[in-house]
Symmetry: C2
Subunit: 323 residues, 2 copies
């Protein structure tokens, strides 16, 4: 699959996102937006933290997974759904499939942390372990789909997934006016594309900023060069952001996102620690990346009203990065 | 000061608690109540978690401190306020004093963790260090009061403090009907007395349960013997609950609390870990004690609707009990 910057597909329109929001409403949390006087004073701006760490299965991924699975007919679902993922999409898809009484086949690298394997099992996902390479994951998934007839639900390069993730920003704009900037983390780009579409439809004066780890900066490079440039050896503590953009997400980001900034590993850890310590909430490293961009002064935040998406809270409590 | 089970003072009445709520309203957070489907399913009951970890200065203590300080006149406040505390009351009192533009003299043991010392400094408290004994703390405080004319604001044995802490349960009952039981942790008994009074006034059919660490079980012993029995060598991870009851809190608890149960150290750590992992919020060990009583099956929780007060979230992120 070659990945170009051109949009040669039907972009989810405003109606598709409104439909996604109503489709998933009963199966996800409308997560709260938290504020911190301490942070506002310290950084001289108004920060809104959208708490997707409180989302079902612990991350925004439940929005897309529920939207994708619930848009399929019973006939389409009869052989289940399948994906390869060692992360939050795996749990979210297993949960969404269970809600529709169908199977979820999840291909996971045999090196996956036990806490993630257990989470998928908790939602009755059927796990197939494979070698920890992209090739092994793809081959293993292909075989399962051939054998079972399950439908693939890709973690981000899927328009129903993107429309589902778009409901997060939509909720923010429903509750809050006059937001100058919205900042989302970027890995494969599902959340970011959805955020950019919702901003375009529901709050068109808001600037869309993506925050990415310097150590996994494929989106940054692709965006500013105009040519898809996958990460060579991504290596960041933000383990949800290791993936590169896809054939849907790259052109959507190229068109609808205003800026991409990168942040250091140190700033990610500092941002995560500050949020834990001051806001008393648990977020995973990937979720700290937007706040890291404020700490490192990468976006023009002074006197602005800025929404930051805290994308998830699934972290191994026995392996904290400041120990 | 001898401590008897008799009430020989004016108990804060319903009006006093309503007045406290309106007095502190603009200076504290009306904290949210969180739910967890996972826990409700697992324990077969309906649990409401009152999130005082999201309270100003990180604990319910801000309610009492603001109520006490804001009930004093400018004349009374002109020489400041004073207390000895190494915990959450110290921060809360320093913050409340700063809001009234007066000084807070805080006596802290020289062994206090740096994180707590810094928190008091953050709110401009004037710290005096002393040897880590109760005698040294009391003598040091007495000297400061003599020298400065500051007014003592005791962490729990003070009726304005108790009326302030009572506003927490009042908020719960305003948002939620038909609560079968309310569970508060007990240390010095300020939160528990206030909770019991509010339950008596605003939700009289609700049973009031106190949860206490087995390793600091003075309230349990005092309550069931009817005679004040201070802890000999309290030693619990729940460092907010090391203190013993006072001359106001013991008789109030004796009259208005229905039951006191004790929990093991293991259950406290397990409860804290579960809440972090599943609810994605940070609570301190003392705040986990009520949930530990559910885990250890110490209260009759099956099929009941139970409010648990998560009393605070001030914890040293570098010293977690499961490492």
């Amino acid at each position: 699959m070659s990945i170009s910057a051109e949009i040669d597909f039907q972009v989810p329109d405003q109606k598709a996102i409104i439909l996604a929001a109503s489709r998933i409403k009963n199966y996800i949390n409308q997560t709260p937006v938290f504020r911190s006087d301490t942070f506002d004073k310290r950084f001289g701006c108004e920060l809104l933290f959208k708490c997707e760490n409180f989302q079902k299965a612990g991350a925004f991924k439940s929005r897309g997974a529920v939207n994708a699975v619930f848009s399929l007919s019973e006939e389409e679902l009869k052989n289940g759904v399948a994906t390869h993922s060692s992360g939050n999409h795996a749990q979210a898809l297993a949960r969404a499939a269970a809600l529709r009484n169908t199977k979820a086949y999840i291909v996971m690298p045999e090196t996956s942390p036990k806490v993630k394997v257990n989470a998928v099992k908790h939602y009755q996902g059927e796990i197939t372990f494979c070698k920890p390479t992209l090739k092994a994951r793809e081959e293993s998934l292909k075989k399962i789909i051939n054998d079972t007839g399950a439908i693939e639900v890709h973690p981000y390069n899927n328009l129903m997934i993107i429309a589902g993730q778009a409901t997060c920003a939509k909720e923010i704009f429903e509750g809050h006016d006059h937001i100058d900037q919205i900042v989302a983390p970027v890995g494969g780009g599902g959340l970011l594309s959805g955020t950019a579409l919702s901003t375009n439809y529901f709050s068109s004066k808001t600037t869309v900023v993506a925050a990415e780890p310097e150590m996994a900066n494929d989106a940054f490079k692709s965006f500013y060069s105009g040519t898809f440039t996958p990460s060579a050896n991504p290596n960041t503590i933000a383990d949800g952001l290791l993936t590169s953009l896809g054939s849907y997400t790259f052109p959507l980001i190229q068109k609808y996102v205003d800026r991409i900034v990168t942040v250091s590993e140190e700033a990610i850890v500092e941002a995560m620690h500050l949020i834990w310590e001051r806001m008393k909430i648990i977020i995973e490293p990937s979720a700290a990346v937007p706040f890291a961009s404020i700490i490192e002064n990468k976006i023009n935040h002074k006197s602005k009203k800025i929404a930051l998406i805290l994308s998830g809270g699934n972290v191994d409590l026995n392996k904290l990065p400041w120990k």
